[in-house]
């Protein structure tokens, strides 16, 4: 039996009290303004409700049935969100990987280039959306002007107003913003690979591309997996940009899950229905956390 001095016991008890005391302010705010609303959304999703009137009508899972079978705009929003996610994986990650590999080579000015590439992540999405809307403007936007200079006048058009190009145009802006983030993440991953491995590859006469495919990418597997998940969750964050650039139009051409939720909840006053969309977003985010924590092998949680 070990002898614990009374003083130490007293300290442990005090420590426990201190622990709760220090935790309490953060926990209270977090529970009220994060945990409670995220739980309440499940309850609200079972009602038909304007969000204003005192009367709520309990309708069970009717809102979910409507999402699955009756709401064609919702289906369009899901498809567009998926397109944004998939193209992010297909375009942003390869470009970011190429930039990260190049910037990792200790070339002169690498620091400045990295800083520039990351710059869009600092600026308000509203500001970015406004500037890009003007870049796409048919009368003074730079994009049509460049096409004219290149003799491609035939391609010039009202990019955001045209149903066939609106989503593509928004995606270009999304890629312009987020590639920088993935460059920095992948660079952090590259730094953890010992230099000797790359030296060995050079001695063996592997080309740049062979080194990337056979060595760099396999070694970065976990980081790339995390980045892929970020591309998926990132597609739910596109609200600011899309709402400012196109109001999810024209004719729902750029509708995504988040804009649909906003329109239903706050324009159409269908708070119950919007909550059902919220629940679905909640679950998708939850699934991605579980996968991400698996990949990182719960490194952060000890």
């Amino acid at each position: 039996m070990t002898f614990i001095p009374a003083k130490k016991i007293q300290f442990i008890l005090k420590g426990k009290k201190t622990a709760y005391l220090l935790l309490l302010p953060a926990l209270i705010i977090f529970v009220i303004f994060f945990v409670y609303p995220n739980a309440h959304v499940f309850y609200l999703s079972l009602f038909r409700w304007t969000g204003i009137s005192p009367q709520k009508f309990f309708i069970g899972f009717e809102n979910y049935r409507r999402l699955l079978f009756k709401d064609t705009i919702w289906i369009k929003a899901v498809i567009n969100t998926a397109i944004i996610a998939i193209q992010s994986i297909g375009i942003q990650i390869p470009v970011a990987l190429a930039l990260a590999i190049v910037l990792n080579k200790k070339i002169r000015g690498a620091g400045i280039f990295t800083s520039i590439i990351f710059l869009p992540l600092l600026i308000s999405l509203v500001a970015i959306a406004m500037v890009w809307t003007w870049m796409y403007d048919p009368s003074f936007g730079i994009i049509n002007k460049v096409l004219e200079k290149l003799g491609l006048t035939i391609l010039a058009r009202e990019w955001l107003g045209d149903m066939s190009t609106a989503l593509f145009s928004v995606i270009v802006t999304i890629n312009w913003i987020y590639i920088g983030l993935y460059v920095v993440i992948l660079m952090a991953g590259l730094k953890s690979i010992p230099k000797s491995i790359f030296d060995a590859a050079r001695v063996d006469g592997l080309s740049e591309l062979q080194t990337a495919c056979r060595i760099t990418i396999p070694l970065l597997k976990e980081v790339i997996a995390v980045v892929i998940i970020m591309c998926i969750t990132g597609s739910f964050k596109s609200f600011d940009l899309i709402w400012i650039m196109t109001y999810a139009g024209p004719a729902h051409a750029t509708e995504v899950v988040s804009t649909h939720l906003y329109r239903m909840g706050f324009r159409r006053l269908e708070a119950g229905y919007a909550s059902a969309i919220g629940v679905i977003i909640f679950f998708i985010c939850l699934i991605t956390i579980v996968i991400q924590l698996r990949i990182m092998r719960i490194k952060i949680a000890k």
């Binding site: 300290f11 005090k14 420590g15 201190t18 622990a19 709760y20 220090l22 935790l23 302010p25 953060a26 926990l27 705010i29 977090f30 009220i32 303004f33 994060f34 409670y36 995220n38 609200l44 969000g51 930039l99 070339i107 280039f113 990295t114 520039i116 710059l119 992540l121 600092l122 600026i123 308000s124 999405l125 509203v126 500001a127 406004m130 500037v131 003007w134 009368s139 003074f140 730079i142 002007k145 312009w176 983030l181 920095v184 952090a188 970020m230 969750t233 739910f236 609200f239 600011d240 906003y262 909840g265 909550s275 919220g278 629940v279 977003i281 985010c285 991605t288 956390i289 952060i300 000890k302």
Partner: protein, 278 residues
Amino acid sequence: MNVKRSKKLKQLTIYIFLIVYSIIILYPILWSASNSLKTNREIYASPWSLPTQPRWQNYAEAWSGGKIGNCFKNSVIVTLLSIAIIAIIAPMAAYSLARLEFKGKRLIFYLFLGGMFIAPIAALVPLLILLRDLHLVDTYFALIFPYIAYGLSLSILILRSFFVTLPRSLEDAARVDGLSPLKIYWKIMLPLALPALYTVIILQTIFVWNEFLFALVFIRSLDMFTLPRGLMAFRGTYVTMYGPLNAGIIIAALPPIILYIIFSDRIRKGMVIGLQKG
């Protein structure tokens, strides 16, 4: 010799690639800065050129006529209050979760982590209803409380992982000296955690400064708008007055960019963790 030349060629290709990419990133930002000093006629007639005579009035027009000045004030108030509270309560909670032993610690930590990954839009409807029931809609606190709640996760994560790395012998020595656990936190551990706390403060400042969705839904009246919401309203009223509109954009974008110039490394490292959230 041949090898040397091919190496030079490779270097050149790399630089061209990097320079072209940097131009693509910088162009829209510099275009906006240049347009912020032009008249509409100049913008239409010569979109490529720099302003012949910088029109600083555009900034004055945005600041007072476009109410960007007032939005700037609101953004400063909301940001300062949110960050001040986060800077006090997040390290407290992080220390508690990192070092002290108590029941439910793991569960609470996971709960906090959730705030990083669940997209804020998921609970947008119930959050508005809650703020309405608390009579907070259209006040600064309609933004401050949600910003704190959603900002705590990342802040606690960063601070906790810092506290975990500090040697336990520090606390043991202090305990022998008869310091209470609260004093150990306040006098010894918190000062040591200042570098991590600065990272948290800078990051949250940028997030809060740029936040748009909550500002769109929880604030109704024009004189309470923060900058991102104010810019949207400004575009609504000034439709095609591109000079002042671009001036407003530059005013909104400048503070985070200045922070970035000073603290670029810290911001990049923190954002890598921070932007992994949904």
